[in-house]
């Protein structure tokens, strides 16, 4: 017992500086993430909504009257009773997958092109990076205007070449393609610049050695470029997946509050549960926890996959 105290005291005296310096962050994360998370988990086991949630009106405070309901919210979600979970999950995964693949694929392609010696390279670079500087909500509104069925510029352009106007934001399928296009436009520059940085950190000698050994451009791409990009790629793909899975403003603002719920991803649906109609706080919290669990599982599997690949080499 006393040795434990001694050890704790010694550990404290060597590390107290480090702990003091991380303390503010730990407090912020604890108070603003940890506590709400704990409370969110608790709420997800209750039937809390706007009507039975305790609140303060002027000087009166109304006590909370919601009750503990166990796993009911989760059962409602996972059995598909609430908010057609499985179709929405499928669409969210499709949305994330297609966005990340397009982001990474186009970003890699453009980065490879920009990494060559050529005239006007820095101009292209600036032009291609521009969408990154546009805040997501501005991009969402801009594209919404371009998608306008009667007065949108896209349909006007199509009309010039004799194609009938497309109902970009009406039909559920086209709607999905439309939002993927917006997000791709917005997300490619980040990937492009990150991959470009990664390309420039690959030692040129590796490419030259491969070339002397008679490797074709494709072989050099697969065996030199892609492995060289691995550290950058693994980070940006993980972050990109998490960001896209939780991408709120594009879906929420482009499709709009009235535009039918079929094209909503899990996050926007959960948000709507909490802030529209009868505010279903408990259902929304349960939805959020399910989303978080999905992402956690994904990250652990992804990390494990990377580590196994690393070990196999």
């Amino acid at each position: 017992m006393s040795s434990l105290i001694v050890r704790t005291r010694r550990s404290f005296s060597t590390h107290w500086y480090a702990w003091a310096m991380v303390l503010p962050v730990v407090i912020v994360l604890g108070v603003l993430v940890g506590y709400p998370l704990g409370r969110g988990i608790y709420l997800s086991f209750t039937d809390a909504n706007e009507a039975n949630m305790g609140r303060t009106i002027g000087d009166f405070s109304v006590p909370s009257t919601y009750t503990f309901v166990g796993l009911e919210n989760y059962w409602n979600i996972l059995s598909g009773k609430e908010g057609s979970f499985y179709p929405r999950l499928t669409w969210t995964i499709l949305w994330t997958l297609s966005c990340v693949v397009l982001h990474y694929g186009i970003g890699l392609g453009l980065a490879m092109l920009l990494n060559r010696r050529m005239r006007g390279r820095s101009l292209y670079r600036v032009l291609l990076v521009l969408p990154w500087a546009v805040p997501a909500f501005v991009a969402a509104f801009a594209w919404k205007l371009m998608y306008n069925t009667d007065n949108g510029v896209l349909n006007a352009l199509l009309g010039k070449v004799g194609v009938a106007p497309v109902d970009w934001l009406g039909d559920p399928f086209v709607q999905k393609l439309s939002v993927i296009a917006v997000n791709t436009w917005l997300g490619v520059p980040f990937m492009m610049v990150a991959i470009l940085g990664g390309l420039q950190s690959i030692p040129r000698e590796l490419h030259e050695a491969a070339e002397i050994d008679g490797a074709t451009p494709w072989q050099r791409f697969v065996h030199v470029t892609l492995p060289g990009l691995r550290p950058v790629s693994s980070t940006i793909v993980l972050l990109g997946t998490i960001w896209t899975f939780n991408m709120f403003p594009i879906i929420y603002l482009v499709i709009g509050q009235a535009g039918g719920t079929e094209s909503e991803i899990l996050v926007t649906y959960a948000y709507r549960l909490a802030f529209q109609g009868v505010r279903d706080y408990a259902g929304s919290a349960a939805y959020g926890i399910v989303i978080l669990s999905l992402l956690l599982v994904f990250s652990v599997v992804y990390r494990g996959m990377l580590n196994r690949q690393e070990a196999a080499k």
Binding site: W19, M21, V28, M118, F141, V153, G198, T235, V267, S299
Partner: protein
């Protein structure tokens, strides 16, 4: 930021070198030089990609300059007027929203980066019990969907009477940006030689003194990038702002703009004009920061 400046200088050097070689030996095709056809294909692809990247931005600028109903005829290029801008600045709350956004994003930036920097430094330099799990926590915080925290935060802020206030939104945004900033800054501090810390210790500085007097000035580019990132995150956040702010005088730009194009109104003229005014400062700042942004991000990732 050393890594990015090195690669930048290096690439500039190679292009200049390539050009010099081309002029001296025009007839012989060098190793890696392209045929004329490949060169044309390369430029065509890049021009097409640039057009796609540029089109929505140029389109918005053009529409904003064409008066209240200019958006209904998107293909015409006439009737240019500044009426949208005068209306926006004179008769709407745009100025207030802009200021609100600046206050909230600026507040988040100062508070967030300050505490993220000290944590990032500690994780980068000191091997204390818990530093590994702290890095993991930072990454996991990236995964929090808005839906998990928004209801509890809404209720907590309601109890603290911080709803519909600057302070409430600033502390909310800190929870979003601090983990990422600490993560990025840790990567940046890793690139600063440890010898500098050691010399500070020899001169009798405390660990915090070393951080504050020696490392912070050296890390200024990295800090600038994180500040910029934090600012932009708060500047363009939609979900929290939409649900936490209820009076029009407190709206941020992201919330205010939604009132222009609600379900029953479509004032695209005002919308486009405000989009341009929002893009201008953000774009300018961005232009200077983007190189460093990625260097900091990838440093954090590869060395985590």
């Amino acid at each position: 930021m050393t890594s990015s400046t090195v690669t930048g200088a290096e690439s500039a050097g190679t292009t200049a070198g390539a050009r010099a070689e081309e002029t001296t030996r025009p007839a012989v095709r060098q190793r890696g030089e392209r045929s004329r056809l490949a060169s044309a294909a390369l430029h065509t692809t890049l021009i097409c990609a640039s057009l796609v990247a540029l089109f929505p931005i140029v389109f918005i600028v053009l529409v904003s300059l064409r008066g209240e109903n200019g958006w209904t005829h998107p293909m015409e290029l006439e009737g240019f007027t500044l009426s949208n801008y005068t209306h926006l600045l004179g008769k709407t709350e745009f100025g207030t929203w802009f200021l609100n956004s600046v206050v909230i994003a600026g507040g988040t930036m100062l508070v967030g980066v300050l505490i993220a920097a000290s944590a990032g430094y500690a994780v980068s330099r000191m091997r204390f019990p818990g530093h590994k799990s702290l890095m993991w926590t930072f990454l996991i915080c990236q995964m929090f969907p808005v839906a998990v925290l928004i209801v509890p935060l809404y209720n907590i802020l309601g109890e603290l009477r911080l709803l519909d206030s600057y302070g409430g939104l600033i502390i909310t945004y800190c929870s979003v940006s601090v983990p990422f900033c600490a993560w990025m800054l840790k990567g940046y501090f890793d690139t600063i030689p440890v010898e500098i810390d050691e010399s500070g210790r020899v001169d009798g500085l405390t660990p915090f003194g070393t951080f504050w007097r020696l490392i912070v000035p050296l890390a200024r580019p990295g800090l600038a990038v994180t500040m910029f990132y934090t600012f932009l995150t708060a500047w363009s956040e939609v979900a929290f702002a939409t649900s936490f702010l209820s009076s029009e005088g407190k709206y941020t730009l992201a919330v205010g703009l939604q009132t222009f194009v609600g379900p029953h109104r479509a004032e695209w003229g005002l919308m486009t004009a405000s989009s341009v005014l929002i893009m201008l400062p953000a774009g300018l700042l961005f232009f200077f920061a983007q190189r460093h942004l990625v260097a900091g991000l990838t440093a954090g990732g590869t060395k985590g």
